[in-house]
Symmetry: C2
Subunit: 174 residues, 2 copies
Amino acid sequence: MARPSDTKTRIQAAARELFLAQGVRNTSLKQISDRLGITKPALYYHFASRDDLVRSILQPFMDELEAFVAGREPTDARRLLDDYFDLVWRHREVFMIILNDPATLAALDLVDRIWEWRRRLAALLLGPDPSAAARIRATVAFGGMSDCVVEHRALPFEEVKSVAVGAALAALAA
Amino acid sequence: MARPSDTKTRIQAAARELFLAQGVRNTSLKQISDRLGITKPALYYHFASRDDLVRSILQPFMDELEAFVAGREPTDARRLLDDYFDLVWRHREVFMIILNDPATLAALDLVDRIWEWRRRLAALLLGPDPSAAARIRATVAFGGMSDCVVEHRALPFEEVKSVAVGAALAALAA
DNA sequence: GTCTATAAACCGATAGAC
DNA sequence: GTCTATCGGTTTATAGAC
């Protein structure tokens, strides 16, 4: 009844857990299949390759981030930081996976997209051609908020968000 | 003339370069030996194992960070952030290697030490038993500064330091 | 100190039966 | 959809000659 391949979802869930716990590159297909009680070749019925499986897990976050920096005109800083925090918090599992294995992302040719996002986020916040000092403060703001999502993920969303966004705004205005 | 095993140092230099460029886990001993024009087994004369080589590269930074959080009484925030920035900037190559491959560090059982350092840094800054809000602001400050070392490493040290420390102080006081 | 040769294990991926 | 069996490649690490 409308669940033709529950297995595919279970593979992604197991993979996400292992990627989060021990990194993408340090996780083998055998570890994933073992956790589900199936064999390694069975994975290949659901995914064309290992990279295909990895991508399928990262894709939703990547797509939303792409839409975030694309469909948005410059607005006030608080609104931008608020919305960015929401996005990263909502995808914090995948965000941590990316943060914990950037080398793997480079192998998937995603490193350019990430740099492009950083640049466009800064442009939304600072306008075109910002000063070096402004870019440094933006790094403290975005980087500091991102670290909060990871380090304080066990605390209530609202508390972390309001304090982190407030601190980031103060850093921007320093 | 007092350089009985220059090779050992050259191995570490080649390994550090490759670790920085493509991650620890994605670098094989063969790649390292190829770059030096020697063979892979030759490495084992100088290092007991691959992990031993990796550790020898990370050790100086780890030791200095250990001393930093150990031999220091609570002082004013600016001084603490200044000295922390200096330390991370001085070891920014190794710092980036760690940042770019945390999963490998976990395999080396170094993850607990890193968490312990974070806790003690926060304690030096905030005193014992700080509020959740204070800890969140400290994360923005330390995390934001750390990201600056990585992202703006091509800019002049003095400029990055003064702006980043200023922004971190503002985040703390938000 | 460095070499050749090789062991032993693991990896991603495919073939083909059921 | 899942299995067994296996291929081809890579890795860390060791043995032993020089």
